[in-house]
C-alpha cells in the first residue's frame, strides 16, 4: 500500500502529460458536450408549448443539460475498450510484468484526462453561470464539496464497473458490444436522455437503485438543489454498494481470467 502511494504521483504526472500530448482528442471530446444541448433544444420547444414539465421550466432544462454535459465529462470512462483491447491483442502482457495492478494505470490515465478537461471546463462553466441567468445553482457554496464527492464517486463506480465488464474479454471477444448494450439501458436510467423526474414513478424507483444514475443524474440533481438530505445519503449509499459489488466482481474475474489469458503475439 505504501509502495502504491509512492507510485501514484509519477503515474498521475504521466497520465496528465499523455492527456496533454493528445490535445486534439481532448478538444473533440469537449465537442461531444453539444449532444445534450440537442436534447435541451427539444425540451425547450416542448416547454414553450405546454409550460413547465415535472417542475422543469426553461431555466430548469438549461441548468440540467448544461450541468449534465459537464458532469458527464468527469464521469465517462473508456476503460472497457482499453482493457478489452489490451487483453485481446496481448498488450496486457507489458502491464502484467510490473508489480502493479494494471487497474491503477487505467485509473491514473483517466485522471490525467479529467484534470485537463477540468482545467478547461470549470472556468467555462463558471463564466456561463455568471453570464446566463437561466443557469442557476440554488445551493450553498459548501454543498459544492458534496457535489464534487458525488462526481468523483460516480467516476470511480463507472471505472470499476467498466473494468469488471472488461474482464469478460478473457473469455469473449464481444465485450465492447456487451458493454454498449448495458449502457444502452444506462442512457435512459442515468438521466442522460431526460431528467429522471420526467419518467413514471416505477422507472424512477428502478433508476434509484441501479448504478447508472450515480454517474450523472445524482450529481446533477445535487448541484441543482433538487435532493433532500435523505436522497443525498441514499445516492451515496447506492453508489458505494455498486462500487463494492463491481469491485468484488472485478477482483474475482481478474484472478480467474488470468488463468485463461493467452498473451497472444510475441
Amino acid at each position: 500500500m505504501a509502495d502504491l502511494a509512492r507510485a501514484y504521483p509519477a503515474l498521475l504526472r504521466a497520465g496528465l502529460l499523455q492527456a496533454m500530448a493528445y490535445r486534439a482528442q481532448v478538444v473533440l471530446w469537449l465537442l461531444t458536450s453539444l449532444f445534450p444541448l440537442i436534447m435541451l433544444g427539444a425540451w425547450l420547444s416542448v416547454e414553450r408549448e405546454v409550460g413547465a414539465v415535472a417542475g422543469y421550466d426553461a431555466a430548469g432544462f438549461v441548468s440540467y443539460y448544461v450541468t449534465a454535459a459537464v458532469v458527464n465529462h468527469f464521469t465517462v470512462v473508456s476503460a472497457s475498450w482499453d482493457w478489452d483491447h489490451d487483453i485481446r491483442t496481448g498488450e496486457l502482457s507489458v502491464k502484467l510484468l510490473k508489480p502493479l495492478d494494471p487497474f491503477h494505470i487505467h485509473l491514473t490515465g483517466h485522471l490525467g484526462y479529467k484534470a485537463l478537461i477540468g482545467a478547461l471546463l470549470l472556468p467555462a462553466i463558471t463564466v456561463l453561470a455568471v453570464a446566463l441567468p437561466a443557469l442557476h445553482y440554488p445551493i450553498r457554496p459548501g454543498v459544492w464539496v458534496i457535489v464534487a464527492a458525488a462526481v468523483a464517486s460516480g467516476f470511480l463506480l463507472n471505472l470499476i464497473m467498466a473494468s469488471a465488464f472488461a474482464m469478460l474479454a478473457f473469455w469473449s471477444t464481444q465485450v465492447g458490444n456487451l458493454y454498449q448494450i448495458w449502457w444502452g439501458v444506462g442512457f435512459f436510467l442515468s438521466g442522460w436522455i431526460a431528467p429522471l423526474e420526467l419518467f413514471p414513478a416505477w422507472f424512477r424507483a428502478v433508476a434509484r437503485v441501479l448504478p447508472f444514475r450515480s454517474s450523472l443524474a445524482f450529481p446533477v440533481e445535487l448541484a441543482l438543489g433538487r435532493l433532500d438530505r435523505l436522497a443525498v445519503a441514499e445516492g451515496f449509499l447506492v453508489t458505494l454498494a455498486w462500487t463494492a459489488a463491481f469491485g468484488a466482481a472485478y477482483r474475482l474475474l481478474w484472478r480467474r481470467g488470468l488463468r485463461h489469458y493467452e498473451a497472444v503475439g510475441s
Binding site: A10, V94, L100
Partner: protein, 331 residues
C-alpha cells in the same frame, strides 16, 4: 538454481473455422476446437549468472516457454520456479526481480519522452532515488541515450527505441532477464550494441539471461549453452560447441586456389560443396581435417587456407530437419 522447469506443458484450445461464410454461420451454432500443444514436457535448469540461448523455428514453443517463466501464462502441466517463486502467482517480490523484453512489444509511453517511462518505472518498482540515478547514468553512458531522452518515443527509430526499452526494463536491476527476439528488425550496428550491453549487464550483475533470437550471432556472442526446442519438445540442452560437433561431424576446409584443379583431385579430400572454381569449400571429417589441410597444401596450388566450423544456422537447420523427419516417421 535461478530457473527450474520440470515437465512443463502448455496447451491452447483454439477455435477452428474454415474461411467461408457457410462455415462461419455453422460455427455460430456449433464451435469446433482443437488443442495446440505449444510446449510438451520440457525440463531444464539454469544457474544464477548463466546465459542460455533458446533456439527453435517459429512456433516451436520458445516464446510460450518464456511467457510461462515470466508468469504471463499459467502452465497446463508441470512445474516452473524462477528465483524460488512460482511465476504465475505474481508475487510482488518476484515481479521486482526479473524482466521480459519482447522485441515486438513496447512498454515506453508512446507520446512522451523515454525519461517519463523511466520515472514511472522508478515509482512502480520503488527504486531508491540514488540507485535510480546511478543506473540511469550508467545506461545513458553505455547505450548512448543522452540525445534520445527528451524526444517523444514515437519519433525514435526502432534501434533507438530498443535501447530505451532495455534501459527501462533494467532500471530495477533484475536478477533474471528473459529476452525474446531483442534485436528483431535492427541493423547490424544496433544489434551489436544491444548484444554488448546485455553481455556487460550479465557480467556486472551476474544476472541470469535466457534469450531467443532469429539471429544466430546473438546466440553465439552471448550464450555458451543452448536449448533447442522444436514442436514444443526440447531436442537439445548443452554446449553450443558440442551441438556443433555432434550435429556436424565435419569441418569446412576453405581453399583459395591459384589455378583450377580437377574436380576428382578435390573430391579425394572430402565432400566438395557447390561453388566457385578458385574458391573451394570441402567438408572434411573432424578427425582428418589437419591431415587433409596439409595434403592440400603439399599437392595443390593453394594461395590461402582456412578451417572453420559450419555456420550455426546450418547446424540448427539440420537439427530441425532431423526432428521433423523423426516426427514424420512416428506420425
Amino acid at each position: 538454481m535461478a530457473i527450474e522447469v520440470d515437465n512443463l506443458s502448455k496447451h491452447f484450445r483454439v477455435h477452428h473455422r474454415e474461411a467461408s461464410l457457410r462455415s462461419s454461420l455453422r460455427s455460430l451454432l456449433r464451435r469446433r476446437y482443437e488443442t495446440v500443444r505449444a510446449v510438451e514436457g520440457a525440463s531444464f535448469q539454469v544457474a544464477q549468472g548463466e546465459v542460455v540461448g533458446f533456439l527453435g523455428p517459429n512456433g516451436a514453443g520458445k516464446t510460450t516457454t518464456l511467457k510461462c517463466l515470466a508468469g504471463l501464462l499459467h502452465p497446463t502441466g508441470g512445474r516452473v520456479r524462477v528465483l524460488g517463486f512460482t511465476p504465475h502467482q505474481r508475487d510482488r517480490e518476484f515481479l521486482r526481480s526479473f524482466t521480459l523484453i519482447m522485441g515486438q512489444r513496447n512498454q515506453l509511453l508512446w507520446d512522451l519522452p523515454a525519461l517519463e517511462t523511466f520515472q514511472v518505472n522508478r515509482a512502480i518498482y520503488a527504486i531508491p532515488q540514488r540507485a535510480y540515478r546511478a543506473a540511469l547514468d550508467e545506461f545513458v553512458d553505455l547505450l548512448d541515450l543522452a540525445p534520445l531522452l527528451t524526444k517523444p518515443v514515437r519519433k525514435l527509430s526502432l534501434g533507438e527505441r530498443m535501447r530505451c526499452e532495455l534501459a527501462a526494463s533494467l532500471l530495477h536491476q533484475p536478477r533474471v532477464l528473459f529476452l525474446d527476439e531483442p534485436t528483431l528488425g535492427l541493423d547490424v550496428t544496433a544489434q551489436a550494441a544491444i548484444r554488448a550491453f546485455v553481455q556487460s549487464y550479465n557480467r556486472r550483475s551476474e544476472a541470469t539471461v535466457l534469450l531467443t533470437s532469429h539471429y544466430m550471432a546473438d546466440v553465439t556472442a552471448l550464450a555458451q549453452r543452448v536449448l533447442v526446442i522444436d514442436q514444443g519438445t526440447l531436442r537439445y540442452d548443452g554446449d553450443l560447441s558440442e551441438l556443433v560437433e555432434r550435429t556436424a561431424p565435419y569441418r569446412l576446409l576453405r581453399l583459395t586456389l591459384e589455378r583450377t584443379v580437377e574436380p576428382r583431385v578435390l573430391a579425394a579430400l572430402g565432400e566438395v560443396e557447390p561453388g566457385g572454381e578458385l574458391s573451394v569449400t570441402i567438408r572434411v571429417p573432424r578427425a582428418d581435417v589437419t591431415a587433409r589441410a596439409s595434403e592440400a597444401l603439399a599437392r595443390l596450388p593453394v594461395s590461402d587456407v582456412a578451417i572453420e566450423d559450419p555456420p550455426v544456422e546450418d547446424i540448427i537447420r539440420e537439427v530441425f530437419a532431423a526432428g521433423a523427419a523423426e516426427a514424420d516417421r512416428h506420425g
